[in-house]
């Protein structure tokens, strides 16, 4: 069985990216699900021969930054709640 290379080296219909954030000994997970044109907002997709490269865009880095900050805020708030 062979899968046509042209098929596999085109943009997928949906992309799910699981992020496991490591911070101060804690790990927090978050999933980003993208469909259709939304994928290209977060990744620039480049085909090079039989390879497909996914380059994160500035929007992706911004999204990571905001998720990271939200995670840190949640962890700090949870730690604060435990103080006497």
């Amino acid at each position: 069985m062979y899968v046509q290379e042209e098929y596999l080296t085109r943009r997928p219909g949906h992309m799910c990216i699981h992020h496991l954030f490591e911070y101060d000994g804690n790990t927090v997970s978050s999933t980003l699900s993208l469909s259709g044109d939304k994928i290209e907002q977060y990744y620039r997709i480049e085909r090079e021969g039989a390879q497909l490269h996914f380059h994160p865009t500035a929007s992706y880095v911004e999204m990571l930054k905001s998720q990271w900050e939200a995670m840190v805020a949640r962890l700090q708030s949870a730690a604060g709640d435990k103080l006497p």
């Binding site: 949906h14 799910c16 699900s33």
Partner: protein
Amino acid sequence: MADILIFSNGPAAPEIELPTRAYVAPDQLRRMAFKPAAFRRKIVEISPSLLLLWAGDYNYATVFAKRAKAFFDGVDVNADTISNFVRTYYRTSANNFWALIIPFSGDWLCTVGDVTHSQSAFAEEYWVAGTGTDLFRQIVGSLSPRADGAIAPHIDGLRLANDLLAYEINTAQPILSQFGGGYEVFYSDQHSFHRVDDIMHFFVLVRRTATTNFHLSHYSHATRQWYEQDRLYIASFATPVGTEQGLGFVALLSPVYLTTTRSLNRCMCRRNI
């Protein structure tokens, strides 16, 4: 949604290479009474308006799917015909077999075997069956609803599938609970059921190296899955990190009612993603 892995208590279960390349320690594998045996589709598409989902014994599921295919051929799908099907063939439940019969119309479904009805903030009302019920409920119960509040069932299904795959990679617990390997996701709109087709799953470890910089470590394999007619393909790709671990592969999963089922076929897949 449904997973794709079936298990066998046979003496010489073949080694299964999981699309995620999740690692199960050999001693854990040895202790398992049922071991990963093959990949199979567990969603049976009887028609665009009727889905069957099964868990448990594969041979029993094959008979179940063939009976349903024949029974509903040219027959209206409604409460009467579904009840008639269940009364005719599944009046008593079998060991190690569970099924959901889900018609498109109406807000009801029919169950075979001891199926759990539950709810969570993320999934609201849901049904789950099989050996992984407890773990599935635990994972679904830990998820929060999307913040945007928009109705997008395919996005929610993809998010859950991705979380379950990540859990498999990080803990192997789904495999030890006898499910996993990959997931099919279906959703319905106002007209019929639809497959969520052509999906890539990536897994990334994120560390912050400075106030403004992130260090992203991609796990060694990503997966891509798609349909061709009634067959599901799942490809496991080596990322640059995974290249040293060997080439990827493609699993081909046929519907259970087909007599010729090729469960795992390797193919040339010389590309890195």
